[in-house]
Symmetry: C2
């Protein structure tokens, strides 16, 4: 009997696990939020991931439960574990991806490099943080933010007055960074851990736009330090499956941790076509406690450019022939989502021996899908 | 709306089209023979592909109908075409893959290099062919053979006496070959055609055991001649989608055509991990008349070793951890099939810069699944 993986959430990350699951001979099943989602091909159930009985029924027939996102409530996760279900990543690890205040506190205990930060419960506390950090700060809601949502750069407490009603906020130093990087690692329940090369990520409007793997101009020390940060966080937090650590490289050449994701991550989409083992295959292997795969790049450079829906994007299908004709070596991935403005609906991967050419080809192919 | 591809047949070739369909954002649907087949994840219908109404109902909602195998009857194919359904490859091409006598006759018209052959309807005709060809011949039933079935090497007509009752047979010269090669090409309805590098195939007991891509010691002339044979057959027969031309390289360094397959083929499984565009993605692109992808190898060498069920093979899942642990860079593909003895149930792909090491790794990883 094939090993059975149950994925909670029907988005594109679940979708992109389908291909490697089929290749490896795994039985992949998805609990989707509704019909017609990205991962609907593998959907065997539809329902609310916040409802214990829905998730419990889904989990009954699988060897492991894993996730498309980090939003399944702790009480649901802990009930599954109490039922004897293998849940990876588990609730003890996921709490740190679900709550940025807990993450900062735990990373501080682990000694991971971080921006200055504070938990602020009212305007006075935030003002004190601003005063101590040059008058500006990044304020985040501890829960539910993604792609720039739940994040504001402020210079006065009034700018987040509406948020204080929701509870304690996270205030962070506005890091003076030269670029953003991401470090991915995979870890099995039995402890085996593998490290991907650190990559450079380029954000636009709070959304990942491009990724270059490996990070250009990555001195050996940078690569080692990033890997060590990833390794120590995965082990310190008990992460199972894929972990992405978003990092700032500061203008004085330090790395500090920005965000964590305990699942396949946009910064690792390049690995589908650029690494021997993609992050999606690796996540499946890791959560099933199967031996992990080689993380080596297949080519010197891999570049990923996201496809976002634009105001005039009619359909991705209508753009596909032009992109494929002009760029026969580009790998176009689309997610089966309607191209609403700003929505991530696909990406293009390219690989090559020359960085500039590889970047150019990915951008040029992705441009066919833009307005 | 996503482009919709309907695949008739639920075997492993259909299964292996699922991954690239999901990546490209295609809506893939399978008409499976029964429940629980290799491609069941994408099965939207179950039924007999010989039944026109079953196939017609399946074809109603797709943009193109294509195939896991070549066994759909001509009358069913022609009825679909008459209905206005896009069918690729179409019946005019498929007849030559369905009937080896027709194939030999048509290839003769095209001037393709072939073994000596004859249609033989009785013992006297076969004896005459034997007398003219050194006393031995390969006799084939024109229809329904695969993996060595429907093929006998004979030195007297009595050895196929049982077959003459079924109709005219194909007698072929027993070619004195040094090795077997396979040439794959992809062709769109609009005419675009791309060529894969010619590969070496190693058969054991009439079944493909290993493939090395590209064929080692492939002189430039060999590569060109093989490509030209593939191109001329695809164009001459009007093939759409993937075409595999199985070739003998004779001891006097000629190439002659052994068999044709108008679908993804075992000789092209290496391309999943070894080529920029796999044969499965290419087939989907071709039958949808989308621009074709780059057929370049990703590495100097790619090797594929088939996994066959053995007398003591308990389950592939039980062997997977050992194989993955010992060979983290090997790509293991399994088909969700019970490992009955001799049955193709999976394969291993490896890529590398050194041929011997790449062959060794593929064999060693595949050996974990053998008895």
């Amino acid at each position: 009997m094939a090993l059975k993986v149950g994925i909670v959430g029907g988005g594109q990350l679940a979708r992109m696990m389908i291909a490697p699951a089929v290749e490896l001979g795994l039985d992949v099943r998805v609990l989707a939020e509704e019909h017609g989602m990205s991962a609907s091909l593998a959907a065997t159930a539809t329902g609310d991931y916040r409802d214990l009985e829905t998730v419990r029924a889904f989990a009954k027939d699988v060897d492991v439960v894993t996730f498309d996102h980090e939003h399944v409530p702790q009480e649901v996760l802990r009930a599954l574990v109490a039922d004897g279900v293998a849940v990876h990543p588990g609730p003890d690890a996921l709490q740190f991806a679900q709550d940025k205040l807990r993450m900062r506190a735990r990373l501080a205990e682990l000694g991971a490099p971080q921006p200055e930060w504070a938990a602020v419960s009212d305007a006075a506390q935030l003002q004190a943080f601003l005063d101590a950090n040059g008058g500006r700060a990044v304020v985040k809601t501890p829960r539910g933010g993604y792609d720039g949502k739940g994040v504001r750069v402020v210079s006065s407490p009034e700018e987040v007055a509406d948020w204080f009603e929701t509870g304690t906020l996270l205030a962070e130093e506005l890091v003076d960074f030269s670029r953003e990087l991401a470090q991915q690692v995979a870890r099995r329940p039995s402890g085996e851990l593998v490290v991907y090369p650190v990559v450079e990520t380029v954000q636009r409007g709070g959304v990942c736009a491009e990724v270059i793997a490996p990070a250009p101009h990555g001195a050996a020390r940078l690569v080692e330090v990033a890997a060590e940060i990833g390794r120590s966080i995965a082990e310190g937090l008990g992460v199972t499956g894929m972990l992405a650590v978003e990092l700032f490289e500061t203008t004085d050449e330090r790395l500090v941790v920005n965000e964590l994701a305990m699942r396949p991550h946009n910064s690792g989409h390049w690995s589908q076509d650029g690494a021997v083992t993609s992050q999606f295959e690796q996540h499946l292997r890791a959560v099933l406690d199967l031996p992990l795969g080689d993380t080596s790049p297949r080519q010197p450079w891999a570049v990923m450019v996201n496809i976002l829906g634009g105001p005039a994007t009619d359909s991705l299908e209508s753009r596909l022939p032009g992109a494929l004709a002009a760029h026969p070596a580009a790998k176009v991935h689309t997610y089966g989502k309607a191209p609403r403005p700003g929505r991530k609906v696909g990406h293009v991967n390219t690989t090559g021996e020359d960085l500039d050419a590889t970047v150019y080809e990915a951008r040029a192919a992705a441009a066919f899908f833009a307005d």
